[in-house]
């Protein structure tokens, strides 16, 4: 049967088409368009992804209200450095009273308990870094790092993928070979190496690990965007844009990108959690932030001093570890639901 016969009046396809056209649309669908509506609808009706959304929203709230939840020591003090209670080696258990130079007692704690002195809610690490403070402010670092790395890898991937697909020929060959070379590196090992090399150049901090993860993270996006554009390039609207004499850049940015960027955004949301876990791993292995920085992986690395007595000092792992797990889980649950909704679209992009 030809396409024409399929969509002829009275055929099944035509009826389905009419039904789709005449279907009642809610105000939301009218506002954001059918594609986004399908996504939003799918995500909020799936119980697992609703849990994911709630978890992620909670982290965003914690990050936003970090100064209220765990007030920093003072205006002159870098809030991302965890305040310490002395220098003793032995970790203190949750609930121990804060002795030396405590930061201001948060208002919510005074209201709930009626006490006017501050305690180590989640205990301290060796060297007396306050775990509660680190977990709360670490949320900001996690969100910042996750979104930044994802955004940068998407930008790099889009540039490489778009150039590759649109100009085809030798440029495509070259760029795809380069992509393959980057994919030939074991991700974590390569990122570990590059940050170890960058630490002497930049000093300890978030940047060596961030740059390393970006360097070895953009390839999937390049491949997907290339596939999407190759598909879009043959569409009629691109052809007609070319016929009326639009420039390459205009065709790419105005006609191809808005259509191709869609699966990329979905992919990106699924990667935020992964990048934060990798970042934490690098910190844990000692090529990330400096000691005492409010970063989950860095706090957990203190547990390596106490492998024999982890059951006594469990709070060094459990609290920041749960923060990491929930953070990753939140994004992964959303990503999983999105993947299910978009499965056929994503399949051909890989």
């Amino acid at each position: 049967m030809t396409e024409k016969a399929l969509s002829a009046p009275g055929s099944t396809v035509h009826k389905a088409f009419l039904q789709e056209e005449l279907r009642e649309r809610s105000w939301l669908e009218k506002l954001i368009g059918p594609e986004w509506f399908r996504l939003v609808h799918g995500v909020v009706t799936n119980p697992l992804s609703v849990i994911g959304l709630l978890i992620t929203a909670l982290f965003i709230l914690i990050a936003a209200f970090a100064p209220t939840i765990a007030p920093p020591v003072g205006p002159t003090y870098d809030p991302y450095l965890i305040p310490r209670d002395g220098y003793a080696q032995e970790p203190k258990s949750p609930g121990t009273v804060w002795n030396r130079e405590p930061p201001p007692v948060p208002g919510w704690y005074q209201t709930i308990t009626g006490r006017d002195y501050w305690v180590h809610l989640l205990g301290t690490t060796s060297g007396q870094f306050d775990i509660f403070y680190g977990v709360i402010w670490g949320t900001r670092i996690a969100l910042f790092v996750g979104v930044l790395i994802t955004a940068m890898t998407v930008v790099l991937g889009v540039i490489v993928g778009a150039l590759s697909a649109y100009y085809a020929g030798w440029l495509d060959d070259l760029l795809m070979r380069i992509t393959e070379i980057f994919m030939a590196f074991p991700f974590l090992l390569a990122a570990l190496t590059l940050s170890a090399i960058l630490v002497p150049l930049f000093g300890r901090g978030i940047w060596p690990a961030v740059i390393a993860l970006i360097t070895f993270g953009w390839m999937t996006f390049a491949r997907i965007i290339r596939g999407e554009i190759l598909g879009a390039k043959e569409r009629d609207y691109v052809m007609s844009a070319r016929v009326v004499g639009a420039r390459d850049f205009r065709i790419i940015s105005k006609h191809i990108m808005p259509n191709a960027i869609y699966p990329i955004l979905i992919m990106a949301s699924m990667r935020v959690g992964d990048y934060v876990l990798s970042f934490a791993t690098l910190s844990f292995l000692g090529v990330g932030t400096e000691i005492g920085y409010a970063d989950w992986g860095q706090i957990i690395s203190f547990s390596r001093d106490w492998i024999l007595s982890l059951d006594v000092y469990w709070y060094i792992i459990v609290f920041p570890g749960m923060a990491l797990l929930l953070f990753g889980l939140g994004w992964n649950l959303i990503g999983d639901a999105l993947r299910d909704i978009l499965d056929p679209r994503l399949l051909h992009g890989r």
Binding site: F182, P186, L188, L189, G297, L310, D311, G328
Partner: protein, 360 residues
């Protein structure tokens, strides 16, 4: 098919050259003092010594000259001794490990290989089993439970999961312990009567008929194996589950069912085997996971393999040693990807029977 094979094989050296160029580029970010470890063991301390070494090994020569020298090595004009040269298998000297990098890798390889080989069993077996069960009970309660279970594993940072295992199974319950062997067994293994054929303890123990050593080695492997498996099951499950669902929708399954074949036979004889084809593509991914996973797992369980050596070297900023591991890992990865592709071409009749290179 032949064209496809040839094209795939030709790509190997090209990618490998690309990898060496990129690693060399990373080397250029190091100071000349650090780079001198490519050719000499001792660290130069004063300025004159540094200058002499830079001049002797041409560490300020044009980049392409240095790259070539890095590949083939330098011949000392007076002694005729060649130092350096990646193609000669000389990756430089690890100043924190106090060993040539190649030797470091060779020493650590058997332990990692042993861990990886043992882990493959639960990773593949468990992942496929979970995927098939999830597909059979599609969207039922069991399916949901399995998917939540593996998604949690996937979201777990490997090091957090490993540390929690240590907390419960070692610190609390004293069931298993970190390391590779207990002290008593190390004495046995290093004694004269025990032949170390492969340097993989479990296999050596069986060959020497020392079952106490075998049991001890296996006990030390259990926590790393659980860690390595749990965090990657999600990947295998996802592929197996969707492949199985896809297969269960095929006409020949309906035919099998309608001719009265019982459900177990239908799934095992007709669906399962065909569903396994796409799972083969995961082979490459598994190698990546393994190379990434052992870094963290070995360091946490104090297991003396390549991963922990690489992590320690990185932690003490011994870039040359880590670069050696990356180079090695990269080559392993390239080779395994090619093997997987070829294997896949052989298994899948659609590719095998396609004439010419249409499968690329």
């Amino acid at each position: 098919m032949t064209v496809y094979l040839i094209r795939r094989l030709v790509q190997i050296p090209i990618t490998m050259i690309g990898v060496t160029i990129f690693i060399f580029a990373m080397l250029q970010l190091l100071s000349p003092v650090e780079r001198s470890a490519l050719y000499i063991k001792t660290t130069p301390y004063n300025d004159t010594a540094i200058d002499a070494i830079i001049r002797k090994y041409g560490l300020d020569d044009p980049v392409y000259v240095q790259y070539w020298r890095w590949l083939v090595g330098i011949k000392d004009p007076t002694t005729g001794e060649i130092s350096g040269g990646v193609l000669r298998g000389d990756l430089g000297y690890s100043r924190t490990g106090r060993l040539p990098v190649t030797e470091l890798i060779a020493n650590r390889l058997p332990a990692t290989l042993e861990l990886s080989l043992w882990s493959i069993i639960p990773i593949i077996g468990g992942g496929i089993l979970l995927g098939v069960v999830a597909a059979i009970y599609h969207n039922k309660f069991i399916d949901q439970v399995i998917r939540v279970f593996v998604t949690i594993g996937w979201s777990f940072p490997t090091f957090v999961f490993g540390l929690l295992l240590l907390l419960v199974l070692y610190a609390k319950l004293q069931l298993f312990s970190p390391g590779r062997l207990s002290d008593a067994m190390i004495a046995v293994v290093s004694s004269a009567g025990f032949h170390q054929y492969t340097h993989m303890n479990t296999i050596d123990a069986l060959l020497n008929l020392r079952f106490d050593v075998f049991w001890d080695a296996l006990r030390h492997l259990i926590m790393p194996i659980i860690t390595l498996s749990y965090v990657v099951w999600a990947q295998i499950l996802r592929v197996t589950r969707s492949a199985m669902l896809e297969t269960l929708r095929q006409d020949y399954i309906t035919t099998a069912r309608s001719k009265g074949l019982n459900e177990r036979m239908t799934i095992y004889r007709h669906a399962f085997r065909n569903a396994l084809i796409p799972v083969v593509t995961l082979g490459g991914l598994m190698v990546v996971n393994m190379l990434n996973g052992v870094v963290v797992t070995e360091i946490i369980f104090d297991y003396p393999g390549m991963g922990s050596a690489a992590a320690r070297a990185a932690g003490s900023l011994d870039a040359l040693a880590v670069l050696g591991f990356v180079l090695f890992g990269g080559f392993v990865l390239i080779l395994s990807n090619v093997i997987v592709d070829i294997l896949y071409a052989f298994i899948d009749p659609r590719i095998r029977l396609a004439t010419g290179g249409g499968a690329g």
